[in-house]
Amino acid sequence: MRHDLVIRVAGESGEGIITIGETIARIAAREGLSIVTFRTFPAEIKGGACMIQVRVSDGKISYHGEKIDFLVCLNQDALNENYGDLHELGALLCEAECDLPEEKSPRTVYRVPFERIAVREIGSRISKNIVVLGTLSQLLDIPVKSIEAFLAEKFAKKSKAILDHNIDALQRGIRFAREKLGGTSGFKYPSGKGDRRLLMTGNEAIALGAAGAGLKTFFGYPITPASEIMEWLAVHLPKMGGKVLQTEDEISAICAVAGASWAGAKAMTSTSGPGLSLMSETLGLLSMAEIPAVIVDSQRGGPSTGMPTKTEQSDLLLALYGSHGDSPRAVLAPTSVGDCFQLTGLAFDLAEKYQLPVIMLVDQALSARLETVDPELVKQPPAVTRLSVQPGADGGYVRYRLNESGISPVALPGTAGGEHMVTGMEHDELGNFACDEETHTAMTVKRYRKLQMIGNDPLTRGLSLHFGDEKAEIGIVTWGSTAGPAEDAVRLAASMGIAVQAIVPKILNPLPHEELKRFFARVKHIIVPELNFTGQLASLLRSTYRVPTISLTKIKGVPLEPSEIVDKIIEAQESLSVRSEKRYGRAG
């Protein structure tokens, strides 16, 4: 049976809350355990409530856990905010003076005067979080050696005094736990299998994936929650000969990507909802001029400024159709940090191979989620570059050749004899403006057949997650980070005796028609859980496949929880037995 532990640390932003969470995650990952984290950010720039929830498990997990086993609150606000999520059988470690709400008291409460230890005994508030670590190491039986090794690494560059100072704080925490709290809490830290796992956030995985795919030029504009991608690349891409440039706005970024890609470099930008809206005109240009480009959209609460630090999946229709006119683009949706790495590589491959813009939809939760990734996954895939040609001095080069494959070979600027025009205007094969009806029809067909070819491309086959009982009549279709809670929900439902099967397509344009059609044939109910108000995937499926989808939507700025999905499943279950008589005669 899988053993996992859900720890949540909450408190005032700036008190090193996140460091506690990341340290636990890092140590677990080094021991081969699976980690999924979930963190929230305060809207304010400095200060304000924030929390990080770390789920450690020795099995394969993809969700940060619904109920908390072990809650750590460093101030009263954090306690009031997070107390509700604590499992009845969970334990609470909190600042000494906090007082607990009456109506529900957890089984065990540990009160530790962290503030007093840090300020008065050690003399520096900032090392309070190390004291908490020390306490936790005892309560959760986390090997102290691992913590000390991690601290040594973390402060290696700093002076020895600071390291000692932190070790001292650690020891104080340990001592206090042993002397005052009775040593252990009953929640056992799972023991790892030993083969180290990589640990990274979604954004880091995307950036790494891009670097691996041979990204040459990155143009971006800071926007929560995507900025980390640019920041990571700014540090590491130049090492590989790449260039990163922050532009004056998203429009300039995406246009620079268009220019750079046309000039022959693999180019990418990353942004969030508001940025993608600004980029929509250029998306049209990219698909009209058939220029490869990768655009990452880390979705956040919308519309407009919305909730910058909150997660949502409400940019789907914008990603699919955003731009005036029929402008084809591929849309991918990673479900996990591992996916983030792999699908970024795939995005570059598709863009280069089919010469069109590819949008990768992640959301704030996934972007910020720290998760372990299997090292084998993180390999540099063979680089795919666009079909190029050297026309030679005699010229006669035709950029938008209407050939059988539908993919016109490209003469990169600088190639002799390849002089040509790319344009946003409808054009003939040579690239000169031509607005007669035949040309427009033929060229639009040429551009849209690419989606069909992507659908049939082995690269995108088998890109969907399948879990649950093949024979179940209730089906779940979801996308992106909601796959995690969906998977837990299926497992939860199964444990309640309700058969459910689920499919999570990772490519949303073109949709994997065959897989989805076979899935719909197998089920009677199709539940579509997603983090947006209008049920965007649900309406897409309904319009594309004319199937009666049941939409489950949530826009609270935090991911769906398995229990919410299971409630819907139960509801479907009951209605199924009633309605099936009406429609299908006796059930079964």
């Binding site: 209407l402 003939d428 094969e429 035949e438 040309t439 029809t441 033929a442 067909v445 849209y448 057949r449 989606l451 069909q452 659908g455 073109p510 028609h513 059609k517 076979r518 719909f520 044939a521 319009s543 594309t544 496949y545 004319r546 199937v547």
Partner: protein
């Protein structure tokens, strides 16, 4: 063997064969082409003439009269040009200089009008020159040669003018026999000046000032000399007939020898009259009718004409004048005939009526002659007629009036009585049979339609038929809609020079002409006719709709001439259209015409011939198949029909059901 010449070119040949030695010229429509032809020959060295680029007609005439004192000189002019010359013409007739003029008759005066009538010739009638009126290109050529022979005769020694109606004469292309130079030299010896200037031994003075006595004696001699020209013209006309097979006289009497009714006129408009006369001859209830086509207008052969009328027992003569005698009693020709018959036949003189028509390019049509013979009939029966000229085609003052309110009361007050007696007799208006095929080409100026029609005429003549092509255009250079009419006649027998204006074949060089309200192009097309259009846009089906019910069985042809021209890199579509015309009008087969075209199409000859063949081949009446505009894109229909996965097709639910079942 006949060559296709326009009236102007024929006159130019006249000058060339007469070995004219000095030809000053000044351009004026419609006679310019004659001077251009001479200029081309001189610059190519085919003609020895000394040409002078005069700065005005007045100077040109002065130069002719000066040079005429030593060598044979001549030029061509029209309308206002002739009026400038008249100021100097007296010096020629007064100075007995036998120089020659070819006049393309055209209206004069305000308002300006570039089309034909005789007002310029009439303005010249008092300048003392010989005036010969010709009816077609052949007569013009022969006229010039005979003109020099008459003028240089020592009994005459006066200048002469050969007149041909503008456009319908000067620009009409037809088969012309060009006599051999040696034969003409025998007929017309070199010119010897009686008082040469360049003879040091005999210095002479021209243009001295004479006081009253010597002046009046001189004038009398001059008149006598002009009078001699009547008899000499007849002599020379007969001699020309013996040498070249075409004899000429003072006038032509066409129709019944014993003609009670005679219509008299000058020049080219007689063509329509001849057709009417032949049609009316021997008709039941129609007395003898004849057409008096007068050739020698000045000196007017009064006695000869009077004697002819008397011999024919003519009772009534209706004279058609294509010009005016401002302030006079009758227009010039009518006045001359009226006085001639009065003076020569006294009480036996036939009654004379005057009709004015054909002014400023107005057309003298066949029905006008029917009107005039009807009028003559009434007059012959003693019905009253006007002592003033009648007018053709003037609605407010018609020749016959059914009822009073048809005309303005003032006019009725004046001519009511006459109108009452003048009755319209239907027997004169029976429809005329049409022995000729008529082809009309609508094109835009500058498209080369005339060149193609002239080529067609030449080919037709080579194929043994008789053709006449008459272009009609305004003063525009480029772009205006112009018409080019061609008449095709079976060949032997009477020459026909009159259009019926109902077209057997109509050719449109530009499909937009269909929509020109002013032209109503399709109205004149015969029921059994054929329509040929240069168009790659309009299909035969669409054209049929345009034709409407009335013309259901009209054969319709389209030819993509513009594309053919473009393919061959030719500037004009006229050769392709010519080829297509042979397809539509089979009576002149292309095989017969090709030998002619090999020598007469415009350069580059091979491309023009190719265009003719392609025009013939690609002319179709099946309705151009909707050729997909040659898609530049190498894609198939299926490709264009492709759409992204459309899972919402009607059949869709079944697909899920299928999988469920499957």
């Amino acid at each position: 063997m006949a060559t296709v010449l326009s009236g102007n070119s024929a006159a130019a040949w006249g000058f060339r064969l007469s070995r004219v030695q000095c030809y000053p010229y000044y351009p004026i429509t419609p006679s310019t082409a004659c001077s251009e032809q001479i200029a081309r020959w001189v610059s190519d060295g085919a003609l020895e003439t000394v040409t002078i680029n005069a700065e005005s007609e007045h100077s040109a005439a002065s130069q002719i009269i000066a040079a005429g004192k030593s060598v044979r000189a001549g030029t061509a002019t029209s309308s206002k040009g002739l009026l400038y010359m008249i100021e100097v013409m007296e010096n020629a007739s007064g100075g007995s200089i036998p120089c020659g003029f070819f006049i393309g008759n055209r209206a004069t005066g305000a308002p300006i009008n570039i089309w034909a009538d005789n007002s310029d010739a009439y303005a010249m009638r008092d300048s003392g020159a010989i005036q010969i009126f010709t009816a077609d290109a052949q007569e013009a050529l022969d006229g010039v040669i005979q003109g020099y022979r008459i003028a240089e005769d020592l009994r005459v020694r006066l200048p002469f003018a050969v007149n041909l109606r503008g456009f319908t004469g000067t620009h009409a292309y037809e088969g012309v026999e060009i006599p051999k130079p040696e034969e003409v030299d025998r007929f017309l010896p070199g010119y010897v000046s009686t008082m040469p200037l360049f003879a040091p031994a005999k210095p002479v003075t021209y243009g001295a000032m004479l006081s009253a006595l010597p002046y009046r004696r001189h004038k009398r001699n001059q008149m006598a000399a002009l009078k001699n020209a009547v008899e000499i013209t007849q002599e020379i006309g007969r001699e020309f007939g013996e040498r070249f097979g075409r004899s000429y006289g003072l006038f032509d009497w066409i129709g019944d020898q014993k003609a009670k009714l005679v219509v008299a006129l000058l020049g080219e408009s007689a063509g329509a009259g001849e057709v009417v006369v032949r049609h009316l001859q021997g008709k039941q209830g129609i007395p003898g009718v004849a057409l008096l086509k007068i050739r020698l207008f000045s000196p007017f052969p009064a006695r000869e004409i009077s004697r002819a009328l008397a011999a024919a027992g003519t009772k009534a003569v209706v004279v058609l004048d294509e010009g005016l005698n401002h302030g006079g009693v009758f227009p010039p020709l009518a006045q001359r005939i009226a006085t001639a018959v009065q003076l020569h036949l006294g009480s036996h003189a036939p009654k004379v009526a005057s009709v004015i028509g054909g002014l400023g390019g107005s057309e003298v049509r066949q029905e006008h002659f029917q009107l005039m013979f009807n009028l003559a009939d009434n007059i012959a029966e003693g019905k009253a007629s006007r002592a003033e000229p009648y007018w053709l085609d003037i609605d407010e003052d018609p020749i016959f009036v059914e009822n009073e309110n048809q005309v303005n009361p003032k006019l009725w007050k004046k001519w009511g009585e006459v109108w009452k007696q003048q009755k319209r007799k239907e027997k004169y208006f029976s429809p005329l049979p049409q022995e000729t095929d008529e082809v009309r080409i609508y094109s835009r100026a500058g498209q080369g339609a005339i060149t193609s029609a002239v080529g067609f005429t030449g080919a037709g003549i080579l194929a043994g038929r008789q053709l006449l092509t008459v272009p009609a255009f305004g003063s525009e250079r480029r772009g205006a809609i112009i018409t080019t009419d061609t008449l095709v006649h079976g060949g032997g027998g009477q020459k026909i020079r009159s259009f019926n204006r109902t077209w057997d074949v109509m050719v449109l060089y530009d499909d937009t002409i269909l929509y020109s309200p002013e032209h109503q192009a399709l109205d004149g097309l015969k029921e059994s006719g054929a329509l040929l259009i240069n168009s790659s846009r309009l299909t035969v089906k669409k054209l049929r709709e345009q034709l409407g019910a009335g013309k259901a069985n009209v054969r319709v042809f389209t030819v993509p001439a513009a594309e053919i021209a473009e393919r061959l890199g030719l500037k004009h579509i006229n050769m392709a259209m010519l080829g297509a015309l042979h397809r539509v009008y089979e009576k002149i087969p292309l095989e017969k015409a090709l030998p002619y075209y090999e020598r007469h199409v415009p350069k580059p000859r091979d491309l023009s011939l190719e265009a003719i063949r392609l025009g013939y081949a690609e002319c179709t009446d099946q309705g151009a198949k909707k050729r997909l505009k040659e898609v530049r894109l190498p894609v198939t229909e299926e490709f264009l029909a492709w759409r992204p996965e459309d899972h919402s097709q009607i059949a869709w639910p079944s697909e899920i059901e299928e999988i469920r079942a499957g």
